[in-house]
């Protein structure tokens, strides 16, 4: 029924805005990936042929330069954490199940799969069926997602039976190393009614790594089920990282996605919530603090399709040096989605006069009895607060770190796993050379 709702609301490209030069580069890239990754599925070929290879005149890619993608794809890289010299669990002290993917390969020796009644968890490569792909999924709307569909043969496969509450989080660790790698990962999660699961997705890369990561995560959250995803991107080296999350929510469910970009040369996150059942809640928060030369893009879509649902979104960015950020937050409220309560906040601080931020809230509301609010700001550090702190003998850098911590604190507090939050704070402090900040004055 909702698909017949007028006007047509999804922002998927209606007409193809192909650019010959881009198409050519995309095809060359596709051939190179195929040469390295080998036999691919052909059921996404139609989508790939129909979709434009992103360029600046494709609205959703207006501020997102893709030129860096058209470099050599030349190797598959090593396949184990031991060979790559990476720690299987990047979060000290976290008690979690673990799936480690090195350069797109599943590393069984470094992994620790859950053995739990009602939970099926294994690498996608060992499964014969994946969830069917519907026409609204990113594979049919975005060229990079179609690439993922074509080449993605590995990832997390997770099924959680009715009423099952998994006792520990599942850590999905992506690691990239080597030169010219193209990692494609495809995670497939389906949760039955009243189940609960928390997933931590952590992406790392070696300092000399060079290549790309294309990750797509599909989650079907059943009735009254609760899903949480802590997504941390902390990649050294020169990694281009494109990530899609497609989250479908049934009645009464709750889904939380917290995205923290600690480090990343080029990051594009494309997060979509499709709220299909009444009484569901979607929570999406994110923060990014790019330094000189880094690029971070967050595109989010919250699609309210039915009545009586809520969503809350809070993204915060601080941009240093010559860094660039993009935020595009789309909220759809379809004609049937009465009594929707949707909130969106995006606040950004430009910490340098050479940084740039492209922020665009997009609310499309077709129902008349809803509460939707949004706010979007781009500013600078609060000079008054800085002077106040300095007048108390706090140094300029420490005062700024304090304001940063306060600014992004609410997003970090939202992370589902406390050990992840602590590790993220630690790594941010390391990256930005802040004095570590202890919240407990008695310590």
């Amino acid at each position: 029924m909702m698909d017949t709702a007028k006007p047509q609301v999804m922002d998927r490209p209606k007409k193809s805005v192909k650019l010959a030069a881009s198409q050519q580069q995309g095809e060359a890239y596709l051939a190179a990936v195929e040469a390295v990754l080998g036999s691919a599925r052909n059921d996404y070929d139609a989508a790939l042929a129909a979709l434009p290879v992103p360029h600046r005149r494709v609205e959703r890619w207006k501020y997102t330069p893709v030129a860096s993608w058209w470099t050599d794809v030349s190797s598959t890289g090593v396949c184990t954490a031991a060979e790559a010299g990476c720690e299987p669990c990047p979060v000290p002290g976290m008690d979690a199940y673990r799936l480690v993917f090195v350069n797109g390969c599943f590393d069984a020796a470094a992994s620790d799969l859950p053995v739990h009644p009602g939970v099926t968890c294994m690498p996608v490569s060992q499964v014969s069926h994946e969830q069917p792909v519907d026409n609204d999924q990113p594979e049919h709307a975005e060229w990079f997602a179609a690439i993922n569909g074509k080449f993605g043969r590995e990832g997390l496969f997770l099924r959680v039976a009715k009423g099952v509450v998994l006792d520990r989080p599942i850590l999905v660790h992506h690691h990239s190393s080597g030169s010219g790698v193209a990692n494609v990962l495809r995670h497939d999660i389906a949760m039955e009614a009243n189940s609960e699961v928390t997933v931590v997705q952590w992406s790392s890369a070696a300092a000399d790594a060079n290549g790309s990561l294309n990750a797509l995560t599909r989650v079907a959250v059943g009735e009254n089920a609760q899903f949480a995803l802590d997504k941390v991107q902390d990649e050294e080296g020169q990694i281009r990282h494109v990530a899609f999350e497609d989250i479908r929510q049934a009645r009464g469910s709750r889904a939380d996605v917290h995205t923290v970009t600690v480090r990343g040369q080029w990051v594009r996150n494309d997060l979509t919530f499709r709220i299909n059942g009444e009484g569901a809640h979607a929570e999406l928060n994110g923060t990014f603090l790019p330094l000189d030369g880094e690029f971070v893009d967050n595109h989010t879509t919250v699609d309210h399709r039915v009545a009586h649902c809520t969503s809350s979104e809070n993204y915060k960015g601080i941009l240093y040096g010559k860094s660039t950020g993009v935020f595009n937050g789309k909220v759809f409220v379809r004609p049937d989605a009465q009594q929707t309560n949707a909130y969106q906040q995006n606040a950004n601080i430009l910490a340098s006069d050479q940084a740039s931020m492209n922020a665009k809230p997009e609310l499309e509301i077709y129902a008349d009895d809803v509460k939707c609010s949004h706010g979007c700001t781009i500013g600078q550090f609060d000079e008054e607060a800085l002077f106040y702190a300095r007048s108390r003998g706090i140094g300029m850098e420490a005062a700024k770190a304090m304001l940063v911590h306060a600014f992004i604190g609410e997003v970090l507090q939202g992370l589902a796993v406390p050990e992840v939050r602590m590790e993220v704070e630690h790594r941010l402090a390391e990256k930005h050379r802040w004095e570590t900040f202890n919240d407990d004055p008695g310590a």
């Binding site: 002077f387 702190a389 300095r390 108390r392 003998g393 304090m402 304001l403």
Partner: protein, 250 residues
């Protein structure tokens, strides 16, 4: 302690201080009074190191060092404290973390180790008593959602924590009811000592009933035009500022 010589300062090309002289010795309490726009708050800001102001001339010696050569952080660490007329709210930074960073900044300057958690909490407890600062205000974000009186008490609490050599109180009495005024003043009086000085900036004589100054100066149009003892404040209260202004221009 502090020696200001022919200080001239401007903001946005408007000259506010036009050659101000003032000497404060250890243990003294000086009050600066004056009509609106005379430069009282500018003086406080310039001394604390607010960068919006341009110093166009003159010198300020603080404990034998050139105050104008230091940045705001260095001035605070050297022992200068400004109680703000409008204390700043910093959402997300707890009062207690803020103070610990401040105390440790000062200790670093003195070549000391960061304060131990327990010692810090004991110190907070002791100093908070001085101004009857509620325990819950210590854990809240700096000044966020504080009433006017709570903000001013928090200023005095911070002053007590940092034990400055010279404290400048910029219109600390503004926005205070009589009870808060008493509490704040008692906090200040408890901190008076032979080696700590105060510069109390106020528009009204009322505060000086509680914090009794050794000297009173009248600031008009960027200069100190009259100095005297505490009785000068009473005379001003009675006659207003016009009398002095006329006297000056005459």
């Amino acid at each position: 302690m502090l020696k200001i010589n022919e200080l001239k300062a401007s903001i946005d090309e408007a000259q506010i201080l036009k050659g101000l002289n003032l000497t404060i010795n250890p243990g003294e309490v000086h009050a600066i009074m004056g009509p609106n726009g005379s430069g009282k708050s500018t003086l406080a800001s310039v001394l604390a190191g607010r960068e919006d102001y341009e110093v166009d001339g003159g010198s300020v010696d603080f404990e034998g060092a050139d105050l104008l050569d230091m940045d705001a952080t260095e001035r605070a660490r050297a022992g200068l404290f400004l109680a703000f007329q409008y204390p700043v709210e910093i959402p997300g930074v707890s009062n207690i973390n803020f103070m610990r960073a401040a105390v440790n900044g000062k200790r670093e300057h003195e070549g000391k180790e960061p304060i131990k958690g327990k010692d810090f909490l004991d110190m907070v407890k002791e100093k908070a008593k001085l101004v009857e600062l509620d325990g819950r205000l210590r854990n809240r974000s700096v000044n966020e959602g504080f009433s006017g009186g709570e903000k001013k008490r928090n200023e005095i609490f911070q002053m007590a924590m940092l034990e400055p050599k010279l404290a400048i109180l910029d219109e600390t009495d503004s926005g205070l009811d009589i009870d808060a005024l008493r509490i704040v003043s008692e906090g200040v009086n408890a901190m008076r000592s032979p080696d700590r000085s105060f510069l109390v900036i106020t528009h009204y004589q009322r505060l000086l009933d509680y914090i009794v100054p050794d000297f009173v100066h009248v600031l008009v149009d960027g200069r100190i035009v009259r100095s005297g003892g505490k009785e000068l404040a009473l005379e001003l209260e009675e006659k207003g500022y016009d009398w002095i202004k006329e006297d000056v221009t005459a």
